[in-house]
Every structure is written in structure tokens, then in C-alpha cells.
């Protein structure tokens, strides 16, 4: 395989003096190098260099993982809880949350750009559970992306958006229907309000964008306390579920 790579490179650049054989390194070595780079901005930059680098720099082997079963915990980059993974992550990291079981998530504050992804085929397979007595499962101060996850709240809200840009793609947000339905909302956004938090961490373009997401239970899908409003709502009524697309943005 190494030979093939060399051959290809030679065909392309026969007599270049600046030729550097970094692309002759095998995938493991290049990934090892990328692992030393901070995700923002360097790893995202390397992803733009060429197809091969893109594949390797965005490879799931460089992600952090949350696993509940103890057998993986000895591997590097594997954490027993979402809280631990979030606090260990570098800005821009992706955290893959293993499917199966229920991950407890109570008032986890995310104050650096992160991407949280569920490890299952479908969002139902990875559940974050916010138990009674917590305000929210996840609280967002910074830009963040959620994908392929189910977030369930027994009381309180699933996602509390304080500032930054929050992207929610292919998720399920559920609030327990009984008994205090009227107290809970799947998404609460306080961005732009007069809170101390939003003035301390001043970010431009606070917004929430939701795509292909099921939102079930709660008094209303989105409650805004700040100056953002619900916009561009689209809904698809599938046979069994209702899927939402919308933005919560300033006017």
C-alpha cells in the first residue's frame, strides 16, 4: 500500500524540490499527528488540505467517547460520563455518546464549542436523562451542536440555551407528560435577556437552529425569555411522528 502511495505521488510531481513525503506516512501516523492539534482551529484547517487529510482529521478515532461499560474505560479518550467528557474536551472536540442504556445529564453546563453525537443508528438509541430536581439536561453558554440524540426531562427543560449558537439536528426532545406538564418546556432560550451570564460572555449571533427533530410533551416546544423569537417553522407529519425545522433568532 505504501508503494502505491509513493507511485501515485511520483506520477503527480516528478521533480519537485519542495516535495515532502508527509503523505507517504500511513494513516495511523497522520492521525497521531492530528491528535496533537487542537480541534479549533488547527484540526478543522487540516481537514481542508486534501481529501485524505479531511477523512483522517474528522475520523471518529479522534473523537472523545462516553461509554458506560467499564471494558472500554482503559482506552484513551473514553469517559464514564458526559460530564467528565465535557470537562476534559478541548474547544471544538466531538464527543460520541455510546448507544444503549441511559446517560444521566443534570445541569451539564457547556461553555466551550463542542459537538455531541449519539452513537446509535437512530436518535432513539442514545438517551440523555434529566432527572427530577434539575433545571435542564444541558445548558449552553457556548456554540454547540447536538446530533442523533434523545434528551428526556422529567421536570424542567431538555435544553437551556443561554448564549452562543446552538444547532440541533436529528434529535428527539421529550418532556414527561405528567404530572406537571405546564412547568416544563423542551427548549428554553434566555439569550439576549438581561441576565448576568449573557453580558459576561458576549457572543454575536446567539441563535438556535433545529432541523428534523421530534419535540414531544411540555407546555410549549420553545420558551424564550430573552429577545430571540421563533422563526421559519416547518413541520413534516410523518406516519408516526412529527418532525420540526425552525430557528430561534433575533428579529
Amino acid at each position: 500500500m505504501e508503494e502505491q502511495g509513493k507511485q501515485k505521488k511520483k506520477d503527480k510531481k516528478p521533480l519537485s524540490s519542495s516535495f515532502c513525503p508527509i503523505n507517504n506516512l500511513d494513516d495511523g501516523c497522520l492521525m497521531h499527528i492530528f491528535n496533537f492539534l487542537s480541534p479549533i482551529p488547527d484540526r478543522y484547517n487540516t481537514a481542508l488540505v486534501c481529501h485524505r487529510w479531511c477523512h483522517l482529521a474528522c475520523h471518529p478515532r479522534l473523537w472523545l467517547r462516553v461509554e458506560q461499560s467499564a471494558k472500554y474505560l482503559s482506552e484513551p479518550g473514553v469517559f464514564p460520563s458526559i460530564e467528565k467528557a465535557v470537562s476534559a474536551a478541548r474547544p471544538g472536540d466531538t464527543i460520541l455518546i455510546a448507544s444503549g442504556g441511559r446517560h444521566l445529564a443534570s445541569n451539564i453546563q457547556i461553555n466551550k464549542p463542542l459537538c455531541l453525537i449519539g452513537g446509535g443508528e437512530l436518535p432513539d438509541e442514545t438517551t440523555l436523562l434529566c432527572s427530577r430536581g434539575s433545571d435542564s439536561a444541558l445548558e449552553f453558554i457556548s456554540t454547540c451542536k447536538l446530533a442523533n440524540l434523545t434528551v428526556k426531562a422529567e421536570l424542567g427543560c431538555c435544553l437551556l440555551h443561554r448564549s452562543g449558537r446552538l444547532t440541533i439536528d436529528s434529535c428527539i426532545l421529550q418532556c414527561e407528560e405528567n404530572p406537571l406538564d405546564y412547568l416544563s418546556c423542551p427548549i428554553i432560550s434566555t439569550a439576549g435577556g438581561n441576565e448576568a451570564v449573557s453580558s459576561a460572555v458576549k457572543t454575536k449571533g446567539d441563535r438556535v437552529s433545529v432541523s428534523q427533530t421530534r419535540i414531544e410533551g411540555g407546555a410549549k416546544a420553545v420558551l424564550t425569555n430573552g429577545d430571540l423569537t421563533l422563526q421559519q417553522v416547518r413541520v413534516i407529519y410523518a406516519r408516526t411522528f412529527v418532525y420540526f425545522w425552525f430557528d430561534v433568532d433575533s428579529q
Binding site: P21, D26, H32, N45, V49, C50, T143, G164
Partner: protein
């Protein structure tokens, strides 16, 4: 080559460490011959060769041989790798973290980019984990905080993205750049 001039210091080092029975002191002075792909011969102390996991397992499989062929390794990076391992053995005998860090940093900063990248497959093939970490960290440091165009020209990599693909990729990663200043 350089290995013969360096060896006396190393021998005294190791004998100081283990002034025990003859069998023990005799061991480190045993030489092992490594043969690179371009047929250069390197004579190294056994203790140095044992730093190379690949060579070590070669000897475990066939202890009677005294020349180890290294078909994937050329002479220049191999000599640099041997130089590094000799130093590491000194640090093993005489642990001094600060000195070791300083040496490791100097070792990589004085190397050209090509030398660094040439050494990585050698370290990988010989399974020298410490060296691999040092080298890869050094390459990562050279990419750090550089623009995409700089990295491409730095390593002479062709951009094989179409304009549309690159734009799509930037869009996909846009969430991470929110609130980050453009360089």
C-alpha cells in the same frame, strides 16, 4: 560511523549502573548489526537495539542471528533514530526529566521538515513509542495556527477538492468557527 566514537561513554555509563557479576556487565557491550535498505551497516549496543521493539522481537524469535535486516529503513533517518535512542538510554540510567525534555526539544527543532517526516515511518516501523510521540508532536507544532494554504504549500500537497466541495466542507464546519476570529 558515529556509533563507534560514542560507544565508550555509553559503556562506562552502563557499567557504573550495574557493577554486578560478569554476565551482567558483559551483556550491554554486545554489539548488534543493523542493515538498512540501502545496505549500510550500523553497529549498535545491544541496549540501544533493544529500544527498537521490532528488533527486540526479531531476536526473541531467532536469537542466534547477529545481523538484523531492516528492509523499510534507509540509512539517514536510521542514524538519527539511533542517536536519539542512545540519549534516551542515558536518561533512563540517569533520570532527569528537565534535561530529557530539553534534549527532545532540541533534537526536533534542529531537524529539517523532511528529516522529521522521514523519521516518523522509521520510528513507527521500529515501534519506538517515545520517539514517535516526540516527532508527531513536533510536526503538529509546525502545522499549528497556520492557514490551509500555508500547510498545503509547506508540505507540497495538492488541493484535490473542487471549489464546491471546499465550500460545502467549510459550511459543515461553520458551527465550530462561530465566535472565532478570522486569521
Amino acid at each position: 560511523m558515529s556509533s563507534s566514537t560514542d560507544s565508550p561513554t555509553l559503556t562506562t555509563e552502563t557499567t557504573q549502573l550495574s557493577p554486578q557479576p560478569d554476565t551482567e556487565t558483559a551483556k550491554p557491550t554486545k554489539k548488534i548489526t543493523l542493515k538498512s535498505s540501502d545496505n549500510q551497516i550500523f553497529e549498535v549496543e545491544e541496549s540501544v537495539a533493544m529500544e527498537f521493539a521490532t528488533v527486540k522481537s526479531f531476536f526473541e524469535d531467532s536469537p542466534s542471528t547477529d545481523t538484523v535486516p531492516l528492509p523499510n529503513v534507509t540509512a539517514k533517518p536510521l542514524s538519527q533514530v539511533i542517536e536519539f535512542c542512545k540519549e534516551q538510554i542515558k536518561f533512563k540510567a540517569n533520570p532527569d526529566e528537565a534535561q530529557k525534555k530539553k534534549y527532545n526539544a532540541e533534537f526536533v527543532t534542529e531537524k529539517s521538515d523532511k528529516d522529521l517526516v522521514d523519521m516518523i515511518p522509521v520510528a513507527n516501523y521500529l515501534e519506538i513509542k517515545d520517539l514517535l510521540d516526540v516527532l508527531n508532536q513536533a510536526v503538529a507544532d509546525r502545522i499549528e495556527n497556520k492557514s490551509v494554504e500555508y500547510v498545503r504549500s509547506f508540505f507540497g500537497i495538492d488541493n484535490d477538492f473542487t471549489a464546491e466541495e471546499e465550500a460545502a466542507l467549510r459550511r459543515e464546519h461553520a458551527w465550530a468557527y462561530e465566535g472565532v476570529d478570522e486569521d
